[in-house]
Amino acid sequence: MEYKYVGKNYNRPDAISKVTGKAIYLDDVRLPGMLYSAILRPEYAHAKILSIDTSAAEKMPGVVKVVTGKGCHYHYGDNIRDLVPMAVDRVRYIGEPVAAVVADSVAHAQAAVNLIKVEYEPLPVYVDPRDAIKPDAVLIHPENGEYWHLPTLKPIPGTNIANEYHLIKGKGADGFADAEVVIEKDFVYPHGSCSAIEPHGSIVWFKEDRTVEAWSSSICPFIIREDLAHSYGVPVSDVRVHTIDVGGCFGYKSDITVEQTVAWIASFVPGRPVKWVASRQEDYTSTLLGHGMWTHMKIGAKKDGKLVAIQVKVLHAGGAYADTPVNVSMASVHNSTGPYEFDHCDLLGWTIYTNTPPVGAYRGYGHQETQFATERMMDMLARELKMDPWELRSMNYLCEGKVNAQGEKYWKSNGDMFKCADLVKQKAFSTPKPKEDDTYYYGRGFAAIMKSPKGAPFSTKGCYMKMNIDGSVSLNMAGAEVGQGLRTVARQVAAEALKIPPEKVRVYSEIDTQFSPYEWQTIGSMFTTQGGRAIIRAADKLIAILKNTASQVLKVDVDYLEYDGEYVFLRSDPSVRVSVKDINRGYITSDGITIGEMAQSCSDARLPRYSNPDQNGQGSIGVSYTFGMQAADIRIEKKTGKIIVDKVTAVFDVGQVINPKQIRGSVMGGSLMALGATLYEKIDYDENGRILNPHFFKYHLPTYKEAPEWDVEFVETPDPVGPFGARGIGEHSVIGIAPAILNAIYDATGKEFYEIPVTPVMMKSALENKG
């Protein structure tokens, strides 16, 4: 649909501050009297702490305080309260905070921290979730089951299973009785890192008036506020958290990560702000990782290709603390069907404690890991059935009238998988691929994807807007800008809703829990949907205020009035009008008496009827869905096994494009992250749980030269939930890349891979094995 401002390119409101170096990120914050901290990490990934000797560190120059976890009696967490800010009597992963030094400079803090001596009693280390669930495995959390947790979670006491999520639809596993063909396979999506270029960091300041002020490179300032208030026994209103510019998030800054640790450290030096910023190494070892999923998938179908049943078992190496990974595991389970309807589902997921850094979101919660399996399986099933893989998929796509794994019925407005597939087929498969030559094999592959938002039923996003005396509008929200461009979206949606040019809408530049409207947290590709709806609601209220005032000024009933951004006027005679400039702070009559309300409004929006899953994993836990397809054109160098992705094609049904330039950037960026995961990126551990590659020169992010050519397009089937038909897109582009590339590898060479990254060594070895 044609809109005046939505669907057009506008520059980001923060672009100028970012190209002039004036944007302020966490490490750029300077405060009077600020102290700096360095944190000691353990020598073992799993051990009891026998003693800590801080005496040598305390004598070092510039040292103000040395802190340990001794005496820390609180746990924290939003889902499972199993986290501690600093190790108390045991360490559970190699990056865990053991002790810290607070000093007058970073250099002094770092010089002293290494002099802290710790005596450990090592315990068995579990890096692989399959080892952690063996019956004789030592418990990483002997308290498992005793921690406070959300009522929807099911820890299994006496095991390392922090949560079991079991979804049954139809006859569950018994549904395979109706199948004529069954295939099954194991897939691995190993731990990776979001690796934003800005490392994590936080500043916490316990003040003498018993308030707490904090800054964080996090996208959940309101959760940090509530968590710190709870841990330190102060009213939520007495904790003030700032989120300023964030140098990339991609998921791993979306939960509480380092803030409680920095708060614990700062609580020992009340009156002084304490800053801590992760080194790149610590960003890998001591914040959240992504993925870590071992997926067993079984699919049953009729001979004609009709899908019948799916069984999935996800073993999720959730890391040393389960608070953040549980949502990732759960989403990986109920989204494991991909964009297909199965009458019978038996989907099981275990979040397993392992001696690895905790897992959090990675551009979404648990979609890419299991749909990697689904989309590889669809190609394998097509071969088994001797069917065209496009036809097999299109027979089974979720679409109007179909019912997904959670029992949610699909509507036309949930999007059009068929159109996405047709476009990709036309763009990427209409010409013959290059013929094998002396140097290369050539291949093409594709994958269909489905993504639901991930949130909580109470998740909401607030919006406050005020119209200024000149008719311009100040828009205040609490969506964290991490680069995804939500402030551009907010500006365009507000402009459209208020019928004023985007240039007259000034969006917020930072979040401050003292002034910003409440937002749960900026996750799950939900800002456009929920935040956009909140803007429309606030705009409707603001326009109603203007009309109410105008009805008094123009002496006419309010329903006879129209608003066009500049005037409120009589529908039947537009010459009877009053300028919004004259009424937005109330209307001043000839004798000075002023009537009417200020043109300001507040609102928020949740997803409609979003629910918790019931005991069988059924419920409206998606509400809004986005479909899409991605394809890869690849070359494989025969001599080296090196895989080169020449082109990525991506089509998503986003309902309505808000900003074409920005949405293209989002899809390219996400696709390239997933390309990295498919070919290069993996956290490597030794058997003792040490991370072997916690640096950019060892953990290889895709570079400029490795970026493919891009063909990106969008289908627009309007969604009635989001603003002007738009739905989320931020995380979707990471989902289809790995299966598309691995399907292309098969197309090029006939070699099957079920695990990523596919390195040149793996590829070459597969090529040499002629079998």
Partner: protein
């Protein structure tokens, strides 16, 4: 022992009294409070700390300050003339190359080092320069677009 080290930064003659092995990035960020230069890694890999020293793009995170005595340094803060953006800043701000913006100052300084010396740099030289910088947001295409736009603006300016 601290030493006095003098250099010109963004056109201003400046003397700092610091340990000579202090890294240029720390002098720029923590002594001179020019926080536009960013730190993204521990071992000179990501490129976001890049500044221009004597006309050449240089990683400030592995340059001891003693090496820049007498040098002419330009940081991201030194590019715009008042309200007027440098053509590279203008192009990068409009091409979609800015998302989170954390790699942006380094990339702009890299291009400045390249294109101010050689506005007719070849596509290959441009690629070599940009390949020194990690960006996690954009997929790189908009950075290339911005670089090409900037080059055109700089070739056309007189």
């Amino acid at each position: 022992m601290s030493e006095k080290i003098t250099f010109t930064i963004n056109g201003t003659l400046t003397t700092v009294e610091v340990e000579p092995d202090m890294l240029l990035i720390d002098v720029i960020r923590d002594v001179l409070n020019l926080t536009g230069t960013k730190r993204g890694c521990d071992n000179s890999t990501c490129g976001t700390c890049t500044v221009v020293v004597n006309g050449k793009a240089t990683k400030s995170c592995n340059t001891p300050v003693s090496k820049v005595a007498g040098a002419e340094i330009i940081t991201i803060e030194g590019l715009a003339k008042g309200m007027e953006l440098h053509p590279i800043q203008k192009s990068i701000s409009e091409s979609g190359a800015v998302q989170c913006g954390f790699c942006t100052p380094g990339i702009i300084m890299e291009l400045y080092g390249l294109l101010e010396n050689n506005p007719n740099a070849s596509a290959d030289e441009m690629t070599q320069a940009l390949n020194k910088h990690l960006c996690r947001c954009t997929g790189y295409e908009p950075i290339r677009d911005g670089a090409v736009m900037a080059q055109k603006l700089m070739q056309d300016r007189k």
